[in-house]
C-alpha cells in the first residue's frame, strides 16, 4: 500500500478493555442521571432496517422520534430516523416540520459488496430523495485483504456523492475483529472525509461495544489535536438499556469532553433503547416504575 496519511498506532486489547470497564463504574444519580438520559434521547438515531419495512412502519418510527415520550416528561426529540433508501421519501414526509433528520443506509448496506458505481448511485438517489445523512458501509473484504487505498478512495467518492448530506462511515467492527483494525479503519474513514464514524450495521454480532467505541473516540481525539476538526461518533447496535447508554456518555465525557456531548457529534444507533431510557426518565419523575405498555412502540 502506498503511504498512509497517518501513523499507524498499535492498540492493546487488555488495557483498552480495562479502561472501558472503568466507565461502567461511574455512578450517576438524580439530576445528573436525568440530564444524561434526556441527552441520550436527543442523540438517538431511531432505526428500522428490516426487509419488511413499509411506509406504515416508518410512520410509527417518525412519530416516536418527534415525540418520544409523554409531554409531561419533557423529553427532547430524537436526532434522526435511520431507514433504507427506499423509505427516505416516506420518512421525509412524516417528519416534515420537525427537527428530526432522515438518515439513509446506502452503499449496498449492510455488506457493501457491490460495484462502486452502484454504491454511488445508491447514495445519490438517497440524497435526492431528501436524506440529510448517509450511513455508508466500508467494504470489509477489501479492508481485510489489505487494500486500504481502495477503502479510502471509496469513502472519498461516497463523500463527494453525498453533496450536502452528512456522511457516517460504518466500519462494521464486528467483522474487523481486532482493535488494531478498528483504529486503522477509523483513521481511513476520517481522512477520507467522514463526518461521523460508526461502529456497526446492527446486522453483525458483536455490534457496538465500549472498548471498540473507546478506540474510535481516541482516534477522533487524535485527529482533533492534529487538525482541529471535530469528527462525530455513532455507536450502533447492541445498546439496549439506559444503563449502557449512560456508560457510553460517561466514556464520551472523559475521552472527548463536553464539546462532543451534542447530537451534532454523538449519536446512538438503536431500535429498542428508547423505551428503556424513557422508562428510567419516568421513574425519576414519578419515583416508581411503570409497565412497558405505558411506552409506545416505535
Amino acid at each position: 500500500m502506498p503511504s498512509l496519511p497517518f501513523v499507524r498506532r498499535p492498540i492493546d486489547q487488555v488495557m483498552t478493555e480495562e479502561r472501558a470497564a472503568a466507565f461502567t463504574k461511574r455512578s450517576l444519580k438524580a439530576a445528573a442521571k436525568l440530564a444524561g438520559l434526556k441527552l441520550a434521547v436527543s442523540m438517538m438515531d431511531l432505526t428500522t432496517l428490516e426487509g419488511k419495512d413499509t411506509p406504515g412502519k416508518v410512520q410509527h418510527l417518525c412519530r416516536k422520534a418527534i415525540a418520544p415520550g409523554e409531554p409531561r416528561l419533557d423529553v427532547p426529540s430524537c436526532a434522526a430516523v435511520c431507514v433504507y433508501p427506499n423509505l427516505v421519501r416516506a420518512a421525509k414526509r412524516f417528519l416534515a416540520g420537525s427537527s428530526v433528520k432522515v438518515a439513509a443506509v446506502a452503499t449496498a448496506f449492510p455488506s457493501g459488496l457491490m460495484p462502486l458505481a452502484v454504491k454511488l448511485e445508491d447514495t445519490r438517489i438517497a440524497v435526492e430523495d431528501g436524506a440529510d445523512e448517509i450511513d455508508m458501509v466500508i467494504d470489509r473484504g477489501v479492508f481485510l485483504r489489505g487494500e486500504y487505498r481502495q477503502v479510502f478512495d471509496e469513502i472519498a467518492a461516497v463523500k463527494t456523492a453525498c453533496g450536502p448530506a452528512h456522511l457516517k462511515v460504518i466500519l462494521e467492527t464486528g467483522e474487523l475483529v481486532t482493535l488494531d483494525n478498528v483504529r486503522l479503519a477509523s483513521e481511513l474513514a476520517i481522512h477520507a472525509g467522514a463526518d461521523f464514524i460508526k461502529t456497526s450495521t446492527g446486522k453483525v454480532t458483536p455490534a457496538a461495544t465500549l472498548p471498540v467505541t473507546l478506540v474510535m473516540l481516541e482516534t477522533i481525539r487524535d485527529h482533533f489535536y492534529a487538525t482541529g476538526v471535530r469528527i462525530g461518533m455513532k455507536p450502533a447496535g447492541g445498546i439496549r438499556t439506559a444503563k449502557e447508554a449512560l456508560a457510553y456518555l460517561v466514556m464520551l465525557n472523559e475521552t472527548l469532553g463536553a464539546d462532543w456531548m451534542t447530537p451534532d457529534l454523538f449519536r446512538f444507533g438503536a431500535s429498542t433503547l428508547a423505551n428503556d431510557v424513557l422508562m428510567q426518565i419516568a421513574r425519576l419523575a414519578d419515583g416508581r416504575y411503570q409497565s412497558p405498555e405505558y411506552f409506545s412502540l416505535p
Binding site: L28, F224, L249, V250, E254
Partner: protein, 510 residues
Amino acid sequence: MTTKKLAARKTAAPLHPNATAHALAVPPSERRLRLGEGLAYAPAPETTPVKIDATYGLFLDGAFTKPGKTFATLNPATERELARVTAATAKDVDRAVQAARRALPAWSALPGAERGKYLFRIARLIQEHARELAVLETMDGGKTIKESRDIDLPLVAAHFFYYAGWADKLPYAFPGRTPHPVGVCGQIIPWNFPLLMAAWKLAPALAAGNTVVLKPAETTPLTALHLARILQQAELPPGVVNIVTGAGETGAALVNHSGVDKIAFTGSTDVGKRIAATLAGTGKKLTLELGGKAANIVFDDAPLDQAVEGIIAGIYFNQGHVCCAGSRLLVQENIHDEIVRRLRDRIATLRVGDPLDKNTDIGAINSRPQLEKIRELVASGQAEGAQLHQPAGRLPQTGYWFAPSFFTGVTASHRIAREEIFGPVLSILTFRTPEEALERANHTPYGLSAGVWTDKGSKIFKLAAKLRAGVIWANTYNKFDPTSPFGGYKESGFGREGGLHGLLPYVTLR
C-alpha cells in the same frame, strides 16, 4: 461547537471531501478538550454500615485484652478520630510471643488438611464480610472504596484461598525435601495495604504450620483487629495468631524478642536496614519487602493510550502509596510530547475527594507526616528545575490530600528521580535507545518492580531478562495475584511473597 459554525458546515459546498471540515478547524491554540465537564456525577457514597468500637485492646491468645494505654487512629479524609487503639508494650509483645509459642506444637502437628480447613473458613468469612471490611479499610487508611472493594478485599480472600490449597500439599511442594514450620513468626506490616499485607503474611505462615505475632501499622490498625474477630469466628485455636498494635517501639520489641524464630517486615528501606542489622548473628530468619523507585519504560512502538492507562495505574493507584509504584517514567524521547499531552488530559478526569464515594479515583494521603514528605520532595523537584503538572480544581479543606501530579524536565540527578516519594507524583525522564532505557532503569539502589510498554514481544523478553527487578509487568502495571511471587532485588529487600516461592520463608527444608 457553536450553532453558527454548524450552520456553516451544512451549507458549504464541498470541493474536496474534507473541504468543509478544514474550513471549520479549531486553531491549534484552542485545541483543548473540556473533559469531565459534560456530566456532573453526583456524590455516590458507599453506605454499608461498619461498627467501630471506641477503643480496642490487643488480640492475644484468642481473645481481646482490656485496652491499655491507647493512641488515636484517624480517618485521613476527615482528620477525625475513628477509634483508640492500645499501644502494645514490650511486656504485651512478650505475652503475645508466649501465646504463639504455646500454640505452636498443636498447630504445627495438625494434618495439613485440617489447617487448610481453617484457612478456607477464614477466606469465606472474609468474603462474607468483604464490604464492611472494605469500608473500614477506606475509613482508616484513606484509599478509595473503589480500590478497597474491587482490589484489596478480593485479593485478601484470594490469598487465604490460595494458601489454604497448599496446606495439605506441602509434602509435594519441594520435591525430595520435607518442609517443617519455622516456628513463631513476627510479622510487621505497612499502612498502604493494611489487610492485604496481613493476608500476604498470615496465609503462607499458617498454611506451613507456623504461629504468628502480627503488628499492623499505627495509622491503619483497624482492619487487622476486625480480622481478629473473623479468626475468632473461624474458631482458629487461641494463640495461633496474635495481633499487637502500636508504633515503632512495639515493632522493635517484636524484632528483638528472643522467642521469635522469624521476622517478616514490609515497610521502608531505612527501617528494613535497621532490622537486618539487629538480627545479624541471631539466627532468626528474615524477609524484607522494602521501598522502590520502579522504572516504567514506554517505547515508541507501544500502544500509547493503553500505556497511559498503565502509567496512571502505576503511579496513582492507592495515591501512589505503593512500594512497586511505577514512579519513574522512562519514555522514549520521540514520543515524550505525545505521552505528556495524553497524561495531562487523563489526569484531568481523575476525581480526588471523599474516598467512600464510588466515583472517587484518588483518595486521601494516609497521614500528615506522609503528606509533608510528599510536599517536601515535590518542592525539591521544583527547586531543582523540573516542571510540575497538576490538574485544575481544588482539594478538600480538611483531611490530607495531594493532587495527582507529574514532573517533566526531570533528569537522573534530580532527587525526585532517585528517592521514593510514596505519593501520587510521577517523574518523567527520557531515553533514546533500549540500551539506555535498561541502563537508566537499573541505575537505582532499588529493584522491586518495572514496567515495559511495547508492541514487540521480543523486546519485552529481552528487557525482562536484563531488568534487575523482582516483578516486571509488560503492557500492564500493578497487577497482583496470589499465585505470583512478589519481592525485590537490592535495597528493595529479599524473600518472596505469593506463589510457591512465598512458602519458602515459612518452612525449613530437611
